[in-house]
Point group: D2
């Protein structure tokens, strides 16, 4: 349910409304998506029916569909999300690149410099890794976050890293420019609720077994709590085909653009799981209208501790980027370089 | 990796081994599944290589596959899990029944009495609900747990309830006899890790988009941390067929029995999503060798706040149970009644 | 469209109706499912609109849904199909067994005798094999049909064999008691059309990628042409799970029973693709209400030229049958032996 | 099995080899893909083992994998297929457009002129329609073929039309420039066998439930019989996602290019089933490296008798084509106009 207050509602009236709704079992959050004072009323434990008359200054109580706030109709012009000096959802085709896992400062820095040189805008790297096997490397955790921050200092690249539980959100948000929700956690609702209340953008990957509708409903969990800086990322769905790791649902790009105002990126690395197929997926992503892409690049792919088969070498990544530029021009998108891209190393932080 | 210590290893040696491994970046846990002193060594942040010579009293370092401990070969005789006075994995076909959500004390108590009378062994009911929509009822949380405990007092039925995040494990474990991991959280690894360290059994539902192998690897997360009281529950997988909510993968029952020593139950309610198809699914589950089933029963199905289409009335549940008994006899399984089943109400706790 | 003629419509009126509809581009066929004179009008090339007034003796023109004739409502009591002396759709749980491919007279006869002894009612065996690879054995064709007929003579078992193209229907129908449409041909419409016009029953397997609705629509192709002797056979659908060859959609049994009056069997051999899982699937099929099952049995499974991994030995088949009998009793179904089951060989044809 | 004869093998030796193999149960066909005299030996009924010594002039008997002839390694430079004056598999991005069904000469001609003007190279239109419902329009059959031929006369566009059974191959081949095998018939082996022996190119659509490997094995059925003029067409696979009719497996384009030498096209109309998503799919197809695309265009989309939701208007098609041209240039592909494209009508046949 959404609560629309009168434009001239006083702070006292808003405070009273929130107190009243809390007493009825709702959490209320200001919805950033509207200029008007609209609040989401989100049921907690035994939420009771609400009456509009009982709320002074209330213009309307609006029943909300599971995707009310993320629907295209709510913000026809689209949402733009700013991360590390770049805007996702505008003309720029934003490229996020980096290793699957943060392994060491050297590995991360070398990779970062190479992807920056090739035209990447943001650096990705996992410090918390959700691994199928409990015996596998689980990520460097806080040490990994610190390395990411260090490499941001030295390259100027904003960083995107995954958070796998609500208890880690505060820590990860301290270091990252954008927090990633992985495919396995798309419906980790306590995590989504937490991410709705932070001041950092979120990259929400699609669950491999989830429909577009469920995906948008998951994004609504975040947006309804006041954080509209959400970018969706299609990374392949699970089908009967086994030649590829997943099946890249390329139609999701246009479908999400017609259903929602949120930007959408594509991750051809996870979608295909095979180095040789990433370029084709990247081109399809760009041509189909995606607002950007995430790819896995490792300075020494064959030493990668995770997702080795889909890690690109810096050279392969550079070649792919060179191939994308003319397509971007052809469809009216830009692929700018990072301001510091020509520096082989950056002594101090670069402000972008 | 598993660390097998000599049978005569001293407490000091074990303490030294654990300290040494911690210094190399591993968490160690005694593995309950073996009589011998075997410890799992689970990588945390930057785990370093381990040498057997460096550990006094160590018999062997054993590389572990993702499903090493849950594999049938590890415990050929099978695991039995005791919950609320009943044993899962033995001859008894264990029936878990109850509402999708705990809605009120009355609803829960009435439902509990009716399912107990019909032959259910354990009561299910959700206090924390993972809901697709953020605007839907999210469960009564702690109040729901308290109602469950109250109803256990008055019916003697052990209770099973879902936990949706690691931060709730301690609280839920205080009230529940068995903690359920829902399909959406099958790969919520921080949650699984927490559940590996509690002294309560766990019901691990299969993710709708997950393979048998991933499912067993998820169970390994729990078992490797010392908790071998894990029951698997097949609840339907996501396929192209839309007539049913999910597709009940009935072959998973025999497949899990050949792959693993853990018991497996079937949830025909979520698998089909349709009242009219639950009986058939329940019969298939029993006949195919499942160790039990979970079904949703509501004293007034059409008033159910969630999963209405798949909620059985007490009468329908009773009819299904009556139809299952001869099949159970035919295949050599028992379906006993709860000791208190004929009481219309139980003034005080019944110890089973 | 269905054309319902008046009960007292004359042969001349019916002839005129058919001639008129043909001129408008429809094929008409008497629908065997009704006692009343109902005809299906099936569009060919450029079918034109029809007016009821233009047809003397016509009671009504009824727009037909894609599953009009096969719907449960059309024949609530269910359809029974007689094949080789046994009735499918009644109390008997009908068992079809035999090799994937007919390989030789000896192989077929030995297998037939063993499955008859264990309680099978009908013999299956492929003479025309749809093979993924063009270099694989494609079946013995007519020679295979002749062997099947020979073995029927010597065992009394009715035979079921696959037909893979409309051009073979006449020949196969000469030999077989029931014609099987394989999963790959479920929507081979020219084949279905041909099968609608023969006087032999049809076993219609579900396509691995087809919904229940498409399956019933395919059956309608046959029934609308006058042949209501159709039995459906669930044989697993294609999903992401790879441990089994397909995923046995056990809920399809109850679903088809509520949607349609046609009998439904289950093929646990193709559904699982693994010998060790067939028994569990067979039990689930029986318990869930299937009208019978088809299983692959080979007198020397490891020499089978096709589908080796799912071929049961005669001993395994016998053990499975013994395990099914008590379940059948428990749910009120019969599993009779073939009249000649105790004979080790049958000098002449046995009439059942 | 493949039979490689010596380069200098005489016609007599080849004749003797073929006679010998026939006597052993094989059909032999000259494989057009090699310059050397290589023959496929395709088992029929009870094929017997072959010995190389028994064949005079035989260089080698080569066991063949199910995709031996269609594999990229067999013809690294790729196959080019000529249809109606255009070459598929070269630099040109070949566009096939036209209505789902041929409905009338006017509808077809108007549509043909409009798609030719917008840049289509070939005209598609179904005369034989495989329809889920037996009561639906089944196509104009021979009349439809005649209309297609008439429109080819008047527009110069080569025509592609579907054949749904082996019995129609000869007739369809008389009229069409390229014969299409629809998704439902991808494994209709009698049909594929027939198509291997005609002198016309074949467009082989992927089955909605079939893997890449099965698809290539189906193509091998055709190529092994002497017809290497096969073009593959990805048209979406069946998954759990319901927003789109199918899921366009865009990675199949690059995957097929690495696995096989056959050209591959994409059909974004069937893949998405929604007009609004076709442009995005078409762009993805082109950018990902497809050799062409097939789209459904109807001069009055809302009057289309079949697949209405995915039919493009001529204006929409023209807009899509205009958007594709710069992308084609960017990746080094051409999109030429048909020689007669500016004519509003073509009095006589145009030879291209």
């Amino acid at each position: 349910m959404l609560v629309r207050m009168n434009a001239e509602a006083t702070a006292d009236q808003i405070g009273a409304m929130r107190k009243h709704l809390r007493s009825l079992g709702y959490e209320t959050r200001r919805v950033s998506i509207f200029d008007e004072p609209v609040y989401s009323a989100l049921p907690e434990d035994d939420a009771q029916p609400v009456k509009v008359d009982a709320i002074e200054g209330c213009a309307a109580l609006i029943p909300a569909s599971p995707t009310a706030l993320v629907s295209r109709a709510t913000r026809p012009q689209g949402t733009r999300v700013r991360v590390g000096g770049v805007e996702i959802g505008g003309d720029e085709f934003v490229v996020v690149a980096g290793p699957c896992s943060v392994e060491s400062l050297d590995q991360l820095l070398e990779t970062a410099l190479s992807v920056r040189a090739a035209g990447a805008h943001l650096l990705r790297g996992g410090a918390y890794k959700p691994r199928t096997s409990t015996y596998s490397f689980q990520g460097l955790a806080k040490k990994g976050l610190q390395m990411l921050a260090e490499v941001r200092e030295r390259t100027g690249l904003g960083i995107i890293t995954e958070v796998i539980g609500p208890e880690d959100v505060a820590l990860v948000a301290e270091y990252a420019d954008m927090l990633q929700v992985g495919a396995r956690n798309m419906q980790n609702f306590p995590l989504l609720k937490k991410l709705g209340k932070i001041g950092k953008p979120v990259l929400l990957k699609r669950g491999a077994g989830n429909t577009l509708d469920e995906w948008l409903s998951a994004a609504e969990y975040i947006v309804a709590r006041g954080n509209d800086q959400v970018v969706l990322c299609e990374r392949g769905i699970r089908t009967f085909e086994t030649y590829t790791r997943n099946t890249l649902d390329i139609s999701a790009v246009a479908a999400i653009h017609e259903l929602s105002h949120l930007p959408i990126m594509v991750d051809p690395s996870h979608a295909t799981g095979k180095r040789s197929l990433i370029e084709s997926g990247a081109r399809a992503a760009l041509a189909s209208g995606a607002d950007g892409m995430c790819v896995e690049v490792h300075v020494r792919p064959d030493e990668s501790v995770s997702d080795r088969d889909q890690a690109l070498s810096p050279e392969a990544f550079d070649r792919i980027m060179k191939g994308l530029r003319p397509i971007a021009s052809a469809i009216g998108r830009t692929m700018s370089h990072h301001p510091a891209w020509e520096l082989s190393a950056t002594p101090a932080a670069v402000t972008v």
